[in-house]
Symmetry: C2
Subunit: 168 residues, 2 copies
DNA sequence: TTGGAATGTCAACAAGGCTGACGTATTATA
DNA sequence: TATAATACGTCAGCCTTGTTGACATTCCAA
């Protein structure tokens, strides 16, 4: 435990402008590192970050609909469609007509799609694993708590909806 | 202290694929939230994230050179110049010929620039402060340790160089 | 049967990355 | 002192990825 102080201003030292500024820059630099490894791989395939995000969440929630993906990514259907069309043409993603609602399209990774997903995930996980293991389990727990509190409420709602869907 | 186990596999539970995957998605969603508030303000001014980043670091390292900023942001001079030109035209940033090396340009925020910087910082800090205070000081420390380990080594070198410069 | 939802697609545009090329001071060096 | 290298600005052109608006199709549900 830290050397605690009964002084309230002492207790809140971690919320000073300087601490917040450091946190803000940390987010900027860390996010750059976080995306750098997958970015290099994607470049070889002529893809961008948008493709990675689509592949990631299609893998995560296999069979999710186009609208699900739009909600998660927070982009327009036109923007997503451009990326999705490429991935389908390149046979990394399969789009199947919905069984219950035939207007919907359920998205799945093909074997080739899974292979690329794995390659991207491995690269990204390596960096996160390094960061986690060097910081230790307690630090990782703190990392999680802070980031969870930074997320917009609307975002988590979409994920909750998918959890329910998948539970069916 | 946590309920520790002598079993090594138990100790490394925080490094499972599932934990890493959660960490990766947390980074994605948290970064989206992190940028959302400044983005709304910037839109009113017809600026983008690139302008925010320039303004932030010119404020942080007042008088830094164009090359310093290029190194920090990790963009090309052409890309930065487009943004910088607007900010100088709009009188938010001032570019002064270097005193020692007249080839260099030292960058400063004008009063108007400082005003926008403050507005952006206040919005962004509010979210980070909320996340920090809800998570608590120990969690913030963990957040810092993990993110620091995610940053590329090259990045920190640029910051170190600026620290030295400013110490002069 | 009819309105609205889900999807796909076309067009046009903007931000913000990139490369390559060129010009101009200014400084460093051979 | 002549030459090379550096810092900066700018022009042109390209790419990715976001946006809005419009329109067609298919299908569900009231």
């Amino acid at each position: 435990m830290s050397v605690s102080s009964s002084n309230r201003s002492q207790k809140l030292l971690y919320l000073t402008d300087e601490q917040l500024l450091q946190g803000i820059e940390l987010m900027f630099f860390a996010y750059k590192g976080f995306t750098s490894d997958p970015d290099r791989i994607l470049e070889e395939f002529g893809y961008g970050r948008a493709h990675h995000r689509a592949i990631h969440f299609i893998n995560r929630w296999s069979g999710l609909t186009v609208n699900d993906l739009i909600d998660i990514l927070g982009v327009t259907k036109q923007s997503l469609n451009r990326v999705l069309r490429q991935l389908i043409e390149d046979q990394l993603v399969e789009s199947r007509v919905g069984t219950e609602d035939k207007r919907q399209r359920n998205l799945y990774l093909t074997l080739a799609g899974e292979a690329l997903e794995k390659e991207l995930a491995t690269a990204q996980q390596a960096r996160v694993r390094k960061a986690f293991s060097e910081a230790g389990p307690e630090a990782v727990q703190g990392f999680r708590e802070v980031l969870e509190n930074m997320i917009d409420d609307g975002q988590t709602a979409h994920i909750m909806a998918l959890r329910k869907e998948q539970a069916r």
